[in-house]
């Protein structure tokens, strides 16, 4: 605890100093920051004795960038244009374009929705869940900086600021649950273990947990006109279970409690949490963004708390993360810039083909990530149905997401069981994808002047973001010969079915 406090003071001094010296840093081109990160990762490779994978192909990269930044697979037109372009900066160009589309805000909203309301936390609370998602999308559409976003989220209250209410209500507005969840999500600290006993792996004590929980003690949920919101209270305390004493609101790592006269507890917490002097905030923000794009953390959660507390700089992973965190902080927590920087790294451009576990662990190859239910549905809707933005589609998306949600947060896993798979194979989404009436792609195939090979190619591009291999072309073309010409629309539908049910459609390379 003691070394903790001094670390915070020290780092606040350092950052105070460095932010003057490095205010030029935020203006540093993203490529330069990316190169510095790559240089450290390169040292990690050498230390691990690993040969890095080859760079990803154009097709592979474009699918990855679209899914990671826009939440949908690229349309055939974008793939063809990208393949045909000889612009040496086309990959960076794609990333920049994707960051500017409304799809980025959409995807961020879905991504954070899954983090804030995992599994079946939304059961029976659909309206509040929708409010939260809309609130999130607005934040990202308005280019809100990360510290402002977290501050707004932590201090939301009142009937006109009901967006984040679903998060609070899903945790029963209980201080200990809010403490465990917020420390994990925004600081990378697994305080939850310390609820009942001193943390087994890190230096967090049980009393510190309850001091943090106290920041959420003066809250309750309320309803107006059927809408749920969170309300601040003037009173409210938590008690330390072993002694039943009231625990005042105390920041982890400090000895003295906050002064309740200085303001609302949640506001004080937000100021502390999002401060540039709080090393956990920027480091974890950078770590989770890296995880979003790379499929694995730069510094594993189990090691994160200790790495920050010890301030270890021997570890190349921690060094690389520090570069990202420093740039994130210097840019005043510009979210799009952080994504831009990471997407510029050579590490992000490596292929996932034939990657070994050793390579993946050392960031020397990309990891194949499973699509979230939202990415799956949005891709199906945009590329196969060729519709988007209708209320009907939103309702269908909600139903699909509700069926397919899980608490799994590791994108390397495929979390679905036989029941979900049967639901995908025979459920309403694939039914809509396989009739001309609802699937614009199938209707569009009727266009004259296309050869069957062209049509098969188009289907592969819209679903798997790549051209078919020769043997795939052969098998697919062969199927067309099995039926008379007037039944061919059924074959196109069968091809769509096969492509959408393939492992490739459900993954990001």
């Amino acid at each position: 605890m003691r070394q903790h406090l001094s670390l915070l003071l020290l780092s606040s001094l350092c950052i105070g100093l460095s932010s003057h010296a490095d205010s030029g840093r935020a203006a540093e081109p993203p490529e330069k920051v990316a190169q510095r990160v790559d240089a450290v990762v390169h040292q990690l490779w050498q230390q691990s004795g690993v040969t890095p994978a080859m760079p990803a192909s154009d097709e592979e990269f474009l699918r990855r960038a679209w899914l990671d930044l826009a939440g949908v697979a690229p349309p055939a037109s974008a793939i063809r244009a990208f393949a045909a372009s000889s612009d040496p900066a086309k990959r960076a160009g794609s990333v920049d374009q994707l960051l500017e589309t409304p799809l980025f805000a959409n995807h961020q909203a879905d991504h954070w929705f899954n983090v804030l309301l995992p599994g079946d936390a939304t059961a029976g609370r659909q309206d509040e869940a929708d409010e939260l998602r809309n609130w999130l999308r607005r934040q990202f559409a308005e280019d809100t900086d990360y510290d402002d976003l977290v501050t707004r989220f932590l201090t939301a209250g009142g009937p006109d600021d009901a967006g984040p209410a679903a998060f609070y209500v899903s945790l029963d507005v209980q201080p200990e649950k809010l403490a465990a969840a917020t420390s994990k999500i925004f600081l990378g600290i697994q305080l939850g273990c310390a609820q009942c006993h001193d943390h087994p792996f890190e230096s967090w004590k049980q009393h510190e947990f309850w001091g943090y929980a106290a920041f959420f003690a003066r809250l309750r949920s309320d309803t107006r006109n059927g809408q749920v919101y969170v309300q601040n209270l003037m009173q409210g305390d938590v008690r330390y279970p072993p002694t039943d004493e009231i625990v005042p609101a105390t920041f982890p790592g400090r000895d003295s409690a906050v002064d309740d006269r200085l303001g609302n507890r949640r506001k004080q917490l937000a100021i502390w949490m999002t401060s540039k002097a709080n090393p956990f905030f920027a480091l974890w923000g950078a770590n989770r963004t890296w995880h979003h794009l790379m499929g694995r953390y730069l510094v594993e959660p189990e090691e994160f708390g200790r790495a920050v507390q010890q301030g270890s700089s021997d570890d190349f992973r921690v060094q690389a993360l520090q570069i990202l965190a420093d740039d994130f902080t210097a840019s005043d927590f510009d979210i799009r810039r952080l994504y831009r920087v990471i997407a510029r790294t050579h590490t992000y451009h490596l292929t996932s083909r034939d990657a070994t576990a050793v390579q993946q662990r050392a960031m020397a190859a990309m990891v194949v990530k499973t699509l979230s239910p939202q990415q799956f549905f949005d891709t199906l809707a945009r590329n196969v149905y060729r519709r988007h933005g209708t209320d009907e589609l939103e309702a269908q998306k909600r139903q699909f997401v509700a069926r397919m949600r899980s608490t799994e947060n590791d994108p390397r896993q495929y979390p679905h069981g036989v029941v979900q798979v049967l639901g995908v194979m025979h459920g309403p989404e694939l039914a809509a994808a396989t009739t001309g009436e609802s699937a614009g792609l199938i209707r569009a195939l009727d266009m004259p002047l296309l050869s069957d090979a062209d049509r098969i190619e188009w289907l592969f591009l819209e679903t798997l973001s790549r051209f078919p291999d020769p043997d795939e072309q052969e098998v697919f073309a062969q199927t067309l010969t099995q039926v008379p010409r007037d039944q061919r629309s059924g074959i196109w539908a069968d091809m769509v079915w096969a492509l959408v049910n393939s492992p490739e459609f459900a993954t990001c390379p």
């Binding site: 608490t407 979900q420 098998v475 492992p503």
Partner: protein
Amino acid sequence: MGTAIDRRTFHRLSLSTVAGVAASPWAGALAARAGNQLAQSGRHCVILWMAGGPSQIDTFDMKPQHANGGSLKETATAVPGMRFSEHLPELAKLASHLSIVRSLSTREGDHERGTALMRTGHPLGGPVPYPAIGSSLSKSLDDQTGSLPPYISIGSSGGFGMPSPGFLGPKYAAMPVQGQPPAGDDAFADLSVNNLQLPRGVSPERFSRRMDLLAAVGRDRYRAALPTAIAAHQTQYSRASRVLRSQAGEAFDLDQEPDDIRRAYGNGIFGQGCLLARRLIERGVRIVEVTLGQAAGWDTHADNFDTVPSLCGELDAGWSSLLRELEERGLLASTTFLWVGEFGRTPQINNAAGRDHFPNAWSCVLGGAGIQGGSVFGATTADGMEIADKPVNEQDILTTLCRALGINPRSENITPEGRPIMISEGNAIEEILA
């Protein structure tokens, strides 16, 4: 048997195309697991879920000497000294397979909370979403080679009635079988699995063509190392397609059973569900849950004394038939039963000739493999209001169930946050373990 392609023909047709996918990435998995499943090796568990809260004082812990006992009568069974409701005559003959626990005491009197408590061993709103015991048990017992999912729930009315896999995730969720009540007096309840049927407009040939196309996609892409996500996707699709196209899918076709057998189990959802449970166990399914009480069920706040005999009739027919048929097939020696609901009912009778929620002192029944049949454990007071002897709680029952199945109740599953959670934390009732 109409002229349209029926399910049996579909299966013959789809099996004939298995050869067509021999060259595909599917072939390895399919070929390795072809052939009959070993239903006889390994253990099975049947959970008979009495939705609504079954009245212990009108079934297995009757009080004929007390006013609270009410108008229903008890009778002797095949086990000397063990007496229970006369409305369970077939079960009475099979009493040597049953162990009645009369001293169950829990603390949740709300349907949703009581259901969660009894199913998971933990109250709702805890630090983690705990899995239903069926999910934990199926995870321990399943060897991943079966054609059918290892955990199937029949006739649950959905909502909180449906067991949840909690932090174990959807892979360990029960596969739900929906039940429709019989359409007429001579008809049988209809049990079906969502999405097991081919969609309208998709013939068996068309489905085979789709699967062949699917097999061809990315066939040669992964030579050196199969990414985790791809491998897991292939595994789950492999399992799902096995359910669809192998023998296992026809397990759900109760039309294959002779009518007199179907009638012996009882026409309703519970009876037909017990028959389906037998078929599923024969095919290697590990955990089957059958719900009795789709509407108000056992929640007899009113008309207790008319409703309970009727429910007992369904219970008696289904459960006794299942016991007998499993024994005939040599499967009873490896199948453990748990009969339970979310709580019991008040010994005092209310103004509507009914009984209300009562978790304080109630009963459940264990039986089959690993259980000392023909026994009674614990007792309530003469008026049924309190436990008189050897109180046990929900954790103790679930721990006993684990032990009867040969599973270590203290073995742990890890939550996504890295927290170890034991399957069950109570004390096993040694006296009723075989």
